[in-house]
């Protein structure tokens, strides 16, 4: 383990802070410097929130000196995807037409992290409008194509691109991202970090850009699964400003990594993945077998991708109705985002409602199929990071089906992705554990068990020092 705080998991970092060995102000200065000097190499930062960060860090230090320790996130720097509102600081939604947009309030998650004593250091880059206009290639952000710290000629995945890159490059100890369909898990896999998509409704989305009201979730990207639990506990819980937020609070309960689990693997789930992704997943399952029984199963035959895609298309069309009507999509960066939103404007209300009716059948069928298992394992993404200058669907074109994403997001199920190896080109790959609604503890503990037997999460890209 390195002796400096970079790449330290939050739990370990907080031990150093609490003991006084690491000062929140010095730690914040360290990360601010990295965000300013290294961030631009990866197009991963939109705004460094230096003034706010140092104000918060000084406050944290004073509070701790006075014996008021707020908990494990006290004094820990972090960044948020730039679709999360921050008072008086631009929130660009990754899109040129909104680059000067400023809100006069903090999003609920930022308020909660503020209460936990965490220090907001950066607004992180993202794919414009969270990829909701149908982008096809990495250059779909006004801050430039998000480059992967493992290989800057490759993409980070998206749409929480900067959140994945910033954690991977040690620019922040943790970050928040959002997922409508794949936007946390994709950068988690490509950047080799842990990414947690919580249950729909677990985390308030008040103050976050809406893409699809019945699909959007906010969640953390961190060095480890354990850190994801710590951050989720801080941001989860009820919020009267978000009617979809659950009334229950959530407590992270790390369990012994010795517990036995039962894991299901969807039959053929990795068949169309890239060879190295499939091989790493098969090897990862051998590790999983050390703490779980692993069994293949099948979902009943339903048009899962068509259901979730139709819901996404209809809600995104409505969420950006005025934007499209005004012709503003033509000011977006990616050419395909100029015309992308028009087709869905003709989606029939009856088709949207049919998809919502089928969603009930899907939720029931999936719950029944998953019942014998504690979680379902699959590759987090079917491809390793794709070249920065290519359309990602054209790389390994067979690997485009995403039943796990359609089911997971369509049914609002939580999932956590953690690194499970590397390709010959030294690009990370990942394994995800998808679980039952509201039972994030089960999947986090399973991912912890996996990480207790592997060291992929302790490997970090070579980043030139600032």
């Amino acid at each position: 383990m390195r002796s400096d705080p970079l790449f330290m998991p939050v739990r370990e970092l907080s031990r150093h802070i609490k003991s006084g060995r690491v000062s929140p102000v010095e730690l914040t200065e360290l990360y601010l410097r990295r965000l300013e000097k290294i961030g631009p190499n990866y197009n991963s930062v939109v705004t460094v929130t230096r003034r706010r960060a140092l104000r918060q860090a000084r406050r944290a230090e004073k509070e701790m000196e006075a014996g008021n320790y707020r908990g494990l996130l006290h004094g820990i720097p972090y960044g948020v995807k730039d679709l999360i509102a921050t008072k008086g600081i631009p929130t660009s939604w990754g899109a040129a037409p909104f680059k000067d947009q400023v809100f006069d309030y903090d999003a609920a998650v930022v308020k909660k992290l503020d209460q936990a004593g965490a220090i907001l250091c950066a607004k992180l880059a993202m794919i414009e409008l969270a990829g909701g206009m149908g982008y096809r290639q990495p250059f779909a952000s006004f801050t430039g194509p998000p480059r992967n710290p493992w290989s800057p000629d490759t993409w980070t995945g998206g749409s929480s691109s900067g959140s994945g890159a910033a954690v991977a490059a040690g620019l922040v100890p943790f970050a928040l991202g959002s997922e409508t369909w794949g936007s946390i898990l994709s950068p988690s896999s490509s950047c080799g970090v842990a990414g947690l998509r919580p249950t729909y409704g677990r985390v308030s989305r008040h103050g976050a850009m809406a893409l699809c009201w019945t699909l959007d979730k906010l969640g953390p990207l961190c060095q480890t699964a354990d850190d994801c639990g710590l951050v989720l506990e801080a941001i989860a819980g009820p919020d009267p400003e978000d009617p979809t937020a659950t009334d229950e609070t959530w407590t992270y309960k790390p369990r012994s990594t010795k517990k036995r689990y039962k894991v299901g693997v969807l039959k053929g789930v990795a068949d169309d993945a890239q060879d190295e992704v499939r091989q790493n997943f098969e090897e990862a399952l051998n590790v999983v077998r050390r703490f779980a029984s692993v069994e293949e199963f099948e979902f009943p035959d339903l048009p899962y991708e068509a259901i979730t895609r139709t819901i996404l298309n209809a809600e995104a069309a409505s969420a950006f109705d005025e934007f499209v009507e005004a012709g503003l999509s033509h000011r977006l960066t990616a050419p395909e985002d100029h015309w992308g939103p028009y087709a869905r404007t003709t989606l029939l209300a009856t088709d949207y409602l049919r998809a919502m009716r089928l969603r009930g059948k899907m939720a029931k069928a999936v719950a029944e199929a998953m019942e014998p298992y504690d979680a379902v394992a699959a590759p987090t993404a079917k491809k390793a990071a794709t070249p920065i200058d290519q359309e990602f669907r054209k790389v390994a074109p067979g690997a485009t089906k995403d039943v796990m994403g359609a089911v997971g997001n369509g049914c609002g199920l939580p999932s956590i992705g953690v690194p499970d190896g590397f390709t010959r080109a030294d690009l990370p790959t990942g394994i995800q554990f998808m679980g039952y609604p509201y039972d994030e503890n089960a999947i986090i503990n399973m991912a912890r068990a996996y990480q207790s037997l592997t060291d992929w999460h302790r490997r970090h890209p070579d980043i030139p020092e600032p």
Binding site: G134, G201, T214, P243, T244, L302, P303, E305, A306, I307, R309, T310, N313, V324, G327, H330, E336, H338, W339, G340, Y342, A343, R344, T345, T346, L347, L348, D351, L353, R354, A355, M356, R357, L358, R359, G360, K361, A363
Partner: protein, 71 residues
Amino acid sequence: MDEKKAYRSVSENLFKVIENQYGYWLTVEELEEVKKSVQNIAEASEALRAVKLGNWDEPFSVFKPMRRRRV
């Protein structure tokens, strides 16, 4: 008219709606891409329609009536 022809006709008509409503924003090449996307959406709708639903299968969405005062 067979089923395939029917939904091609639907997607062609829907495309005409877009062409009429937003044509001035879009180039010929962009309109071609939009046409393909409309076909993809129509195909997804066909996949949804292939599953039988009962009259009682209601949309799976959360809706809580909002009240301002206790009753």
